[in-house]
Amino acid sequence: MTSVLRVQDLKKYFPLGKDLFGRPTQVVHAVESVSFDVKKGRTLGIVGESGCGKSTTARLLMHLIEPDEGRILIHGKEYGQIGGRHPLSELRKQMQMVFQDSYASLNPRLTIEDSIAFGPRIHGVKEVQARQMARDLLERVGLNPGVFIRRYPHELSGGQRQRVNIARALAIQPEIVILDEAVSALDKSVQAQVLNLLADLKKELGLTYLFISHDLNVVQYISDDVMVMYLGQVVESGPVEQLYRQSAHPYTRALLNSVPAQTPGTRKDYIVLEGDPPNPIAPPSGCRFHPRCEFARAICSEKTPDTVRVEGEHRAACFRLPQSAGHQHYIALQEVQDDTTH
C-alpha cells in the first residue's frame, strides 16, 4: 500500500523569552527528528506526555508553522510557500485539522452554519449547496440543524463546539483528517456516535486519520497504528494490538499503566512516574526518558538509542531491546552493577 503521508526528520524549536536585543534567551525543543509514514485508509493514533510535541507536529503538517528542518510529503508532493512547492490552498483541500482548542478555532462572529459552509465556498462550492452540506454534517455529528445553524460559538456547550469543528473539517471532504483531542469533550454516548461516524466515513471514502488523544482506550479502539512520543521524539510505534499487548519502551508501559480503572470498586494502585517532569528547554542527554526510567544504566545518559525493529512493524528506541546496537553495553553494565550490589 502506498503512503499518503510521509514525514522525515521533522524538527521545530521555539524561542522562549527575549534578552535586551530581542534575541531568544531560551529554546524549547518541541519536535526533534520525528519521522513516520501513514498508509492510505489507516488511522495513526498519536499519544504521549502533555507537552511532548503532538499538536506542534500537527500544526507543522498543516503548514500553520514552518519546520526548522525536515520534509513533509503528501502523495510524494511537498507543499509550502517556498518556490517550486505546491500551493497551500491545494494542501487544505487534501488535509484538514480539528484543533484541540475548540473555542479559539471558531470565528466568534460567524454563525455555526457560516463557519461550516465557509471552507466549501472558498473551494468553489455554490452557496446553497455549501449550506446544505453544513446542515447534513451537523445532523451527522448529532446536532439538530434547526436548533444550531444560527447560533454563535459562545452559545454552545464545549462538546457542541467540538462537534461543529469536526463538521467543519469534514465539509471540505479532505483525504486526510488530523483530529487533535477531537472527542475529548464529549460524553461517552456522543463520543461513541462520533467515533462510529469517523469509522463509517473511513470505510465510505477511504479517509486517513491522524488521531491525537490522551484517552488510551479510545486510541486503542480507533487506531490501526500507534505512535508514542516523549519530549519531542518518537519512542515507540507499531500496529495497535502489538503495541498495547507488548509495549517495548518503559515510558509506554508507565503510560498504559496510569489509565484509571473503569470499573467501580477498583481504585488502582498506580505506578506514578517518579522524577521531575521533562524539561523541553534543556532536554536530558542520551535517552530523554532516562532520568525517570527504572531500568536506566550509564549508557542511557551517554548515547541516544537508535530506533530498532522489535517485531514486524513494531519499533522502539531503548537500549534494553536485544536488537539495539547498545544492548551488549547495557547488559555488561547491568552485570557490573549487580555484582557490586551483591
Partner: protein, 322 residues
C-alpha cells in the same frame, strides 16, 4: 454538618434568537465540607451552565436565573458585586473547560497568578511570586520558573490546563469547581494532578465539584455523583453505587457506550440512539423517554417530585412510583 453549597430549584434560562433556552431546570443539590461531587452527563445538558451559576458568571442582561444558591452561608443571588468579587477566587474558584477563557492572552501566566494572589491576600509581590511558582511546581509544569514568563499561547494544551488549575488553587479556596480539568492531560500527568487535588483537599478541607466524562476519573476522586440530562439532574447517589448499579436508563446507556479496553474494533460502538431534546420548553415529563428502551405511556406525564435530600434517587417512574 451544614452544607457549604446549597442549591435549591435553580433555573437558568438564556434569551436566544428564537426564544428562551431552558438550559438548567429545577436543579437542587448540596455539597458538604470536604466532599467531592462528580457531575456526569450528556454534552449540552447544563453542567457548565450550572457551575458558572455558582460563581454568578452569566451575563445578567441575557440570562434569567431563579432559585436559591447558598455559598458558605451567603445568599449568592442577592449578593452585591463587591462581595461577589471577594468570594470569587477566594472562597470559591473555578477551573474552566476552556483554558483560553481563564487567561488573558496579553499577560504572562505568572503575572496573572501573582495578580490574583495579591488581590485576595494583599501580600507582597515577592510572596505572591513565590506562591505562583510553588503552585506551578505542584501541578508539575516543567521548568516552572521559566514558564512564569510564558504567554498562554506558548504553552501546550495540557500545560495551559495545569496553569489554570494552579491559578484556581493559588488562593487556597474552600470550594473548587473543576470543569473537565484533566481532559487535556496524558494519563501519567492526569493521575498526578488527581492525587494532588486529593492531597490539597485533605490539607485545606476543600470541597470539589468535578465535571468529567471519564467514569474512571469520577471513581478516583468523587464521593457522590449526579448525572444530568437535558437541564436536570436525573440520578444522584454515592459514586460507587450509581456507577455499579445505575437506575436511570440514561445512566445505563451512557455507561454501556463507554469504550473499554479490548473491545472489538470492528464493531460499531453502542451509542444511545436518537438525540437529546431541544431545550426550548420546560419539561415536567421525562426528557429521555423518546430515546428510552423501557419507555411506557406513563412516561409522558409529569414526573412526581423526588426527595433531593435522599442519599440515592433517580428521576424515572420505575423508581419514583414504587
Amino acid at each position: 454538618m451544614t452544607p457549604l453549597i446549597e442549591v435549591k430549584k435553580l433555573n437558568v434560562t438564556f434569551q436566544g434568537e428564537e426564544g428562551p433556552i431552558y438550559a438548567v431546570q429545577d436543579v437542587s443539590f448540596d455539597l458538604a465540607p470536604g466532599e467531592t461531587l462528580a457531575l456526569l452527563g450528556e454534552s449540552g445538558c447544563g453542567k457548565s451552565v450550572t457551575m458558572k451559576s455558582l460563581m454568578r458568571l452569566h451575563p445578567e442582561h441575557k440570562t434569567q436565573i431563579s432559585g436559591q444558591i447558598q455559598v458558605a452561608g451567603q445568599d449568592l443571588l442577592s449578593m452585591k458585586s463587591s462581595a461577589l468579587s471577594k468570594l470569587r477566587g477566594k472562597t470559591i474558584s473555578m477551573v474552566f473547560q476552556e483554558p483560553m477563557l481563564a487567561f488573558d492572552p496579553v499577560f504572562t501566566i505568572g503575572d496573572q497568578i501573582i495578580e490574583a494572589v495579591r488581590r485576595h491576600e494583599g501580600c507582597s509581590q515577592a510572596d505572591a511570586r513565590q506562591r505562583a511558582l510553588e503552585m506551578l511546581e505542584r501541578v508539575r509544569i516543567p521548568s516552572a520558573a521559566k514558564r512564569l514568563k510564558a504567554y498562554p499561547h506558548e504553552m501546550s494544551g495540557g500545560m495551559r490546563q495545569r496553569a489554570m488549575i494552579a491559578l484556581a488553587l493559588a488562593c487556597r479556596p474552600q470550594i473548587l469547581l473543576a470543569d473537565e480539568p484533566t481532559t487535556a492531560l496524558d494519563a501519567t500527568v492526569q493521575i498526578q494532578v488527581l492525587l494532588l487535588l486529593k492531597e490539597l483537599q485533605r490539607e485545606l478541607g476543600m470541597s470539589m465539584i468535578f465535571v468529567t466524562h471519564d467514569v474512571g476519573v469520577a471513581i478516583e476522586v468523587a464521593d457522590r455523583t449526579a448525572v444530568m440530562y437535558a437541564g436536570r439532574i436525573i440520578e444522584q447517589g454515592p459514586v460507587q453505587e450509581v456507577l455499579s448499579h445505575p437506575q436511570h436508563p440514561y445512566t445505563q446507556g451512557l455507561l454501556a457506550a463507554t469504550v473499554h479496553p479490548g473491545m472489538d474494533r470492528h464493531q460499531p460502538l453502542p451509542a444511545i440512539p436518537g438525540s437529546p431534546p431541544q431545550l426550548l420548553r420546560r419539561m415536567e415529563d421525562c426528557a429521555f423517554a423518546p430515546r428510552c428502551p423501557h419507555a411506557q405511556e406513563a412516561c409522558s406525564l409529569p414526573l412526581p417530585a423526588v426527595d433531593h435530600q435522599a442519599a440515592r434517587w433517580s428521576r424515572c417512574i420505575a423508581h419514583t412510583s414504587a
